[in-house]
Amino acid sequence: MTPHDEPYDAIVVGSGITGGWAAKELCEKGLKTLVLERGRHVEHGRDYVTEWLQPWQLPHRGRGEQELYDRDYPIQSKNYAFGEATRHFFVNDREHPYITAEDQPFRWIRGYQLGGRSLIWGRLCWRWSDLDFEANLRDGHGVDWPIRYKDLAPWYAHVERFVGVSGERLGLAHLPDGDFLPPWEMNCAEHVVRRGIERAFPGRHMTITRVANLTEPHNGRGRCQARNQCARGCSYGGYFSSLSATLPAAQKTGNLTIVTDAIVHSVIYDERKDRAVGVHVIDRNTKQTLDYAGRLIFLCASSLGTAQILLNSKTPRFPTGLANSSGELGHNLMDHISKAGASGTVPGLEDKYVYGRRPTGTYIPRFRNLGGNREAKVAFLRGYGIQGGAARAGWSRGAEIRGLGAELKQQLREPGPWQLTLQGYGECLPRHENYVDLDSERKDEWGIPLLRVHCAWSDNERAILEDVKTQSAEMLDAAGCKDVETYDHDGPPGFSVHEMGTARMGRDPKTSVLNAHNQTHDVPNLFVTDGACMASSSCVNPSLTYMALTARAVDHAVSELKRRNL
């Protein structure tokens, strides 16, 4: 099985948020780059087929077909962004199975198309700090990160400048400021709650999220139009995606080749050269196989997708999967624990409202275990941040109250009370026993062994969630909210769509898969820059860190290539 073509300078597997970045950086550095996407082609703008549909033009007014969802989308339909107007950007679960134990569900949310999940992501962008990069070293869970904040800071700035991140500077050491566009506005009720929380809890903050929705035109992309329907796709380029930003930039260099419907079966490893020399691909439609040759291989196929490819790339030297001499490949799977918090009613402000549909919400940065000597002691490691937001109740409240006729109609013509919800996102510890592997018998339609996911929350994550609920309720109480209630939807791992960790970075080749430059310890020209690379999970949304790590890894790879070290 030898690659039959003139090799590309680089092959990037996946076109999502990290694949797009790898492609852009590689192409801009002059490398002839092939991007392989397992899903269909999606053209920016033209293929956002629901973008201009109004509620009455959606087949079931956005409510969808329950029977179809139960049959084909039992997992995807649980995602907040899934719906009648966005379904075509999510996989059909029936056609793309994976295996979990009955009592150990894992929600694997996927978008198999050009642009991947960058079309449907939540768009929150936070820098990590050394509180995060030193966490494993400090408490002994997982392995120490081989990098620190200073290594990544210039790369955060590099990606932020291109992405266009709006946000408020807070001056917090544990949530470093970046190069921000003007922030979105908080609404009246959020201002009230912010003042209440900050008065009652010195040291806690409430801010607007830092988010990849443009508050002003940026790098040739139009500003966000406040429709809050990002996951349908946005012809304005108002939010960052591979299709709106990185792939067009890569295309502009003339160095980019994109092949869609190309499912990577495995990476081809040449024992004699001790290098990855290409990838083995199956055409999604014809099922024909084809090999592509490349000098550099970047795996950006998502945490679980990348693990699946490497586990399936077995060679005599790597009988348990390529670059797996450590035995850690597939292990240390993490997500963020979420779907719990509190909500309440903000009294008054009946004569106030909002104009437009803001595409994001508020954020309370981590305030637990920051290392301050006056801090309350808590019974868990690490911490959490709290997303939230306030809005006036809309017409749908009518379905939950008594009444009919002209009185009901008149009542719903005006908005209801201001309601504010808080939802925590807690850090998940890296644990060897949370892992993925390949099933020895069952295969998918393309003959690739099915992934088995073994993942459960530990007591630490559950303790975090309990504190989220208590603290959320206390903050809302202190801010003067009424009818404060906690909630807990008990989301299984995967629910937050922040899965990561299956090919972790580390200092020691015996305990980690990747080095400080996302390069596999075992195979020098093989890089992994998607969420698989993460050695810990922090509590903030991870995409910006994936992007910065990708750009940094490309910079290293290309300089090594030029020095003929690869």
Binding site: V49, R61, W184, H191, R223, Y236, L408
Partner: protein
């Protein structure tokens, strides 16, 4: 400034709608399905005589339309009937509801007629409007006497864990969704801006005037 690349396009022609509907639903579609999908675009243009229900009988359509109009009647803006809520409910029953839940809804309709018969000796549609309204108020009171059910689960029948949702709650939610997501409901009864263009976090309610449709 970047302009809307399609122009200020708020309506789409039939061919474009067909193309999008086909893409939206994954490509290969039977013609009747596409026609059904387009019901949303077409409803306003097809007279009731040319429209055929798929889940409900003609009599049931009339019953649903009459109940929906009681829930959200014509006032200074059109009501549920003019917004085609009965067609929306028929489409949801035909395409979205699993058979068991469809049956439950139809049984609920039959029960309305039976209740009307017990109290006034007539089927619902033969009752005087005031009697119709009085019966629906009883159903409404009963439906909301049971413990609250989170929105969007009210369409689901009972499971081993949770009891079935009272019929009238399902009917009411379907009526509200059908009405406020219709063009009439969204643009004439409520405030709708497909492309707001900006976000202001704190404006006088009077500036927007009405509840946002979306």
């Amino acid at each position: 400034m970047t302009r809307n690349p399609r122009g200020a396009q708020e309506t789409i022609d039939r061919r474009e709608a067909l193309r999008r509907a086909a893409l939206l639903l994954g490509g290969a579609l039977a013609a009747p399905t596409v026609a059904g999908v387009l019901a949303g675009c077409q409803a306003a243009r097809v007279p009731d005589g040319a429209w055929a229900p798929r889940a409900l009988s003609r009599a049931q359509v009339e019953l649903v339309a009459a109940m929906a109009e009681h829930i959200l009647p014509e006032t200074d803006t059109p009501g549920a009937r003019a917004a085609g809520v009965h067609r929306f409910i028929d489409a949801m029953l035909a395409e979205s509801f699993p058979p068991s839940e469809r049956e439950r809804f139809l049984a609920g309709l039959a029960e309305v007629d039976a209740r009307a018969g017990r109290t006034s000796g007539h089927r619902f549609l033969q009752c005087a409007p005031a009697d119709q309204r009085a019966l629906l108020e009883v159903l409404d009171r009963e439906a909301f006497a049971s413990p609250p059910v989170p929105l969007s689960t009210t369409w689901r029948g009972g499971t081993s864990d949770e009891p079935a949702v009272p019929f009238f709650r399902t009917m009411k939610e379907l009526t509200l969704v059908g009405y406020y997501t219709s063009e009439i409901g969204a643009t004439r009864e409520l405030h709708h801006a497909p492309v707001p263009g900006r976000y202001d976090g704190c404006v006088p309610l009077a500036q927007v005037g009405r509840t946002w449709a979306v």
